[in-house]
Amino acid sequence: MDKLKLGGNQGSANKKKRNRRAKSSNFIENDHMKGPNFKVVDKTSESSTQASNMCSRVQNEQSKDNKLAPAEESTINPNLSESQYTLKHKKRKSKKKKSPIRTVTDKEEVSMLSADGDIQLSKKNGFGINLDSSGQASEEKIVVSGLEAIKTAKTKVYDHQTLVKAENLLKSTELADSLTGTLKSSIMSTHEALKEESWAPCTGAGKQQRLDSRASNEEGQKTKAQLKAERKAAFEAKRVAEVADKRMSDKQTQQKSKATLRAERRAVQEAQRAAKEGKHQLENVCPVASVKMQEVFLKQDHKEGMKDAEQGAEFSVSKNEKSAGVKKVHKKTSDDPRVSQQEVRKKVRLFRHLPQYHHNYLLTRNLRLAGSDLHPSIIGLGLQISQGVVRGSNARCVALLTALKEIIQDYITPPHKELSRDLEAKIRNYMNFLNQCRPVAVSMANAVKHLTRFITKMPSNINDSEAKLRLCEQIDTFIKEEIKLAKQAISQNAGENIRNHDVVLTYTCSSSVKGALCDAYDEGKNFRVVVVDARPRLDGREMLRCLVKKGIQCSYVLINAVPYIMQEVTKVMLGAHSLQANGYVMSRVGCSQIALIARAYNVPVLVCCETYKFSEHVHTDSIVYNELADPNELVTELPPNKQTLENWQDIPSLYLLNLEYDLTPPDLVAMVITDIGNLPCTSVPVVLRVKHAGSQEV
């Protein structure tokens, strides 16, 4: 039944693949549960979350008491049966664990529990999670699986060695060199293995493998001390490999192809991260050793930072070359030495893979004021979005659509070209530009997807003016139905949930929550609102402004006062940037914290989200996919004239991280108020499927 449900949701071939993986990883999950080392896994992931300081810690809680959540949710939505709920939870769980790596390496995995944290991290490194884009995945798979293989190799080697021996090993450089050899060969071998495995029918073979691995796992049950030693050894080995790899790469940089270079770099990074993980674990176990290690790490960090800069530079260059043909704008901007400098400098470790913030004055530097490839309305929109003049995912989407409408109205099909093809290419180009200004919102991406689908389906026999008219109509209906009317529907649905004498807590500014509260007040309901705000953006002031203007009774606190204020709150209403297919709510950073506190005080959390913002993507933490805002925002709004951190870029030990979004796990959310009714988080796939089917009929 599980398979059926998922299969119905997905059409294309690669989605089927994902399905398979989902299923197999589900089994693994069960294995973990039964296996003796389950606790270790849990710890690893916990420490990773601690390191990242993100909300994903609640994952663990979720996996433990996920049976509680459905009951609570089902009281809210009686339409869906309990069995459906558990089913969805399974699915969610499977998605959480799902990644291309799983299928490939589950042979080693169970026996290699210490590496589990690494695997998760490598997922977090931004790859393999976007299941729809199967194209890019293969390369990363090789890298990751290569790593995996190395780890196994190493653990086998060091399985029974003691901690001291491992430390000695670190010093012996000869071994390091030989390890690099194993690294290379293992990359190759796993690459081949991957090719075979990933296409082999998974059900039978996969099970067999898993059985095998489980058996081996049971055989090799170890004492706690052994486990510790093993972990330590693995981590040491990785470091050795890393040192060796550094040397190798120095020597052979010019000989290697671009792909291998990148693979190696990735591998090094993985190893470093893994090392860090290992360190965290060690701290729990042997504090004396960890102090020593910390010293080493400090040195290593320093080196790493320097190397990172180089890598970043290289990386941006290679990226640049890759996209040189297609992205004109991109090439131009990164030609500028200032850009690369700014981008490379000061990358926060866990968020290196995300596009770094850069100032917009470089964006337009090489754009012509007249006769530019980009339509003026797109340039204007890009700047407005990057400057925060247009803010909020709904507003950004409406602004984009109006800009696109303008473009379509001005559009003239070039001779010897087809409208549908040419316009689509143009829009793609525009989206590239916008993506550079600020990563495109899910809402915008969905709207454009909708529009391009319509463009491609346009019959070729109609003339230009007719086609343009239809497109404009399409845009107007989209804005009207998906945004404007959806907003009204949401405020209606939300209004039903606001009762007299309620105290509603809301966080920063969400257009749908704002609308809902205002409408509820207009209906004559008597309630109070607590607006919670957070630095650096202080968007909550805008919310407060609107509510106060309306005459609603408000309190305004900053997020650090939430635990106190939560005692008097009866409902929490949050906006959302997007809702993921696994039910995770992507929203302004801080939302998950609010939800967590609300859970502690047993306050229901309602999320307002239009259905067009539902996303097919699956994320389980805020690291894989996020947006980095201007780090300067964090320091510039300190007391005026006393900007001690003005030159923070020059302080080597200081990194600033200004995150845009975070993810709230579904079991912290009581329900999602959408334009089609009040739903549980987990019904995202259903909604998406229905929508998809609907659009295909059209």
């Binding site: 004021l369 340039i379 909020g392 500014c509 002031r541």
Partner: protein, 456 residues
């Protein structure tokens, strides 16, 4: 196309009449190229393929003869203004209204700068401004540069500019003469914009970005004659006064506002907002002001912005002093203000016994005899410099002859001028086709054809 470029080259050079008697201002050479080449080059570098150039009718032939369009490789649409009219800049824009289809970039022909236009354009685009202007700190060396042929200092007319420093929003832009003792500022404006910086040391670079509807507004209000003097202050002022008919889409109201003589209402009827503008502003979660219950931008539909140049060079060659000074500077700043364009062909010093430095430019076909000393001077094409001539800080236009043993310091010699043997000139201007007799010693003098001078 995002912007259309309009080059204002119809100025008569009222502050340098001595030079413009024989040559239209826009063609006066700066570093051996006509002045107008610099703004055109700037436009070209920013991707403009065509530009509208407004010139006075009497200068049309000369301008087309100068073949500027081939020099900058642009398509120039040269519009002439009837010589019978004494039009201001706004009137010129009104004259070419039919050619204006999109937002305009208006630039003066005497602007020499290394400014990157996109910075101003970004401000304009970001805030969907109605008008954006470039302001540059006045460089004192240029203002106080001694002007040849003038006794006493030229009094500078200052602009008083009020600007909200963190946004760049203009609060008021007026000439010093508009105010008496005090600079008044309305209280409600100050409440909305509590931090206003008032500058008197900024120069209006005469580089504007103007939206199309402002041109329409200009067309309808025929009493506005100049952009700088009248349009700019009034539009900046009207930002803060909202249309009374705003929000009511009553047709009668709309009509009334269009036909109304009161420009206060009128200006807001011109500004068009998009179809989904209301929804957009409703959805936007931006907060841009503290402690105010107003909407975004305080509900202002008309918004004017200024961009203050932080570094770089911005010069207007609109007075004698600045013209002479720019010429002196140009060999040094050539690369930055022209974006590394090729320098005009300069003849090398033919004889080794002559002295000249990098701080000078020498035109094509110029003959330089022995023992000539040239310092900080610009020498035009086809000039004859005889033996033992000494030039310091001089601007010499085409076809000028300087006879043996003359010493010229800080002089401007217009084309076809002749300086006799052994003359000593200091701070002088020699007009077109004028002759300076042998052995004359002059300082701070202007040698012009009297009748012409009076006519101007």
């Amino acid at each position: 196309m995002e912007f259309q470029a309009v080059v204002m080259a119809a100025g008569r050079g009222s502050r340098m009449t001595e030079l413009t008697t024989g040559c239209p201002k826009c063609l006066l050479p700066v570093g051996n190229v006509p002045m107008i080449w610099y703004p055109l080059n700037l436009l070209k570098r920013n991707g403009f393929q065509e530009a509208i150039v407004i010139v006075p009718e009497m200068a049309k032939n000369e301008v087309s003869e100068a073949r500027i369009d081939t020099k900058v490789d642009m398509k120039l649409d040269i519009v002439t203004i009837p010589s019978s009219e004494d039009w201001g800049t706004a009137e010129s824009i009104r004259y070419i209204k039919d050619k204006i289809k999109v937002d305009v970039l208006i630039i003066s022909c005497d602007l020499i700068t290394d400014f990157e236009l996109h910075q101003l354009a970004d401000v304009y685009r970001t805030h969907s401004a109605s008008l954006a202007m470039l302001l540059a700190p006045v460089s004192l060396s240029l203002v106080n540069a001694p002007a040849p042929g003038q006794k006493g200092k030229h009094k500078r007319v200052r602009d008083i500019v009020g600007i909200e420093s963190h946004t760049g929003r203009l609060m008021f832009v007026n000439s010093e003469a508009d105010f008496e003792e005090n600079v008044p500022l309305r209280k409600f404006i100050l409440t909305r914009h509590p931090v206003v910086q008032v500058h008197s040391d900024l120069m209006d670079a005469h580089l504007y970005l103007m939206s199309k509807w402002l041109v329409d507004y200009l067309v309808e209000n025929e009493n506005i004659t100049t952009i700088k003097g009248e349009l700019l202050p009034s539009v900046v002022k009207k930002q803060f006064y909202h249309s009374k008919t705003e929000g009511k889409n009553d047709i009668t109201n709309m009509k009334a506002s269009v036909t109304s003589v009161d420009p206060k209402k009128d200006i807001h009827s011109h500004k068009k907002t998009g179809e989904w503008y209301d929804l957009l502003s409703e959805l936007s979660t931006r907060s841009n002001q503290w402690g105010s219950l107003d909407d975004c931008y305080h509900g202002d539909q008309v918004r004017c912005y200024g961009y203050i140049m932080k570094d770089g060079l911005c010069v207007r060659a609109n007075t004698l002093g600045s013209y002479a000074e720019v010429n002196r500077l140009i060999p040094k700043i050539w690369d930055s203000v022209t974006g590394n364009s090729e320098r005009p062909i300069s003849a090398s010093l033919s004889r080794s016994k002559s002295q000249g430095g990098d701080d000078s430019m020498i035109g094509e076909g110029t003959n330089i005899a022995d023992k000539v000393t040239i310092k900080k001077s610009i020498i035009g094409n086809h000039c004859q410099l005889k033996e033992k001539v000494k030039l310091l800080n001089c601007v010499i236009m085409d076809h000028v002859t300087v006879e043996e043993g003359s010493t010229l310091q800080s002089c401007i010699l217009c084309s076809n001028a002749f300086v006799g043997k052994g003359s000593e000139l200091k701070d002088c201007i020699v007009g077109q086709q004028q002759r300076v007799m042998d052995l004359s010693k002059l300082s701070n003098d202007v040698i012009l054809e009297i009748e012409k001078f009076i006519e101007i």
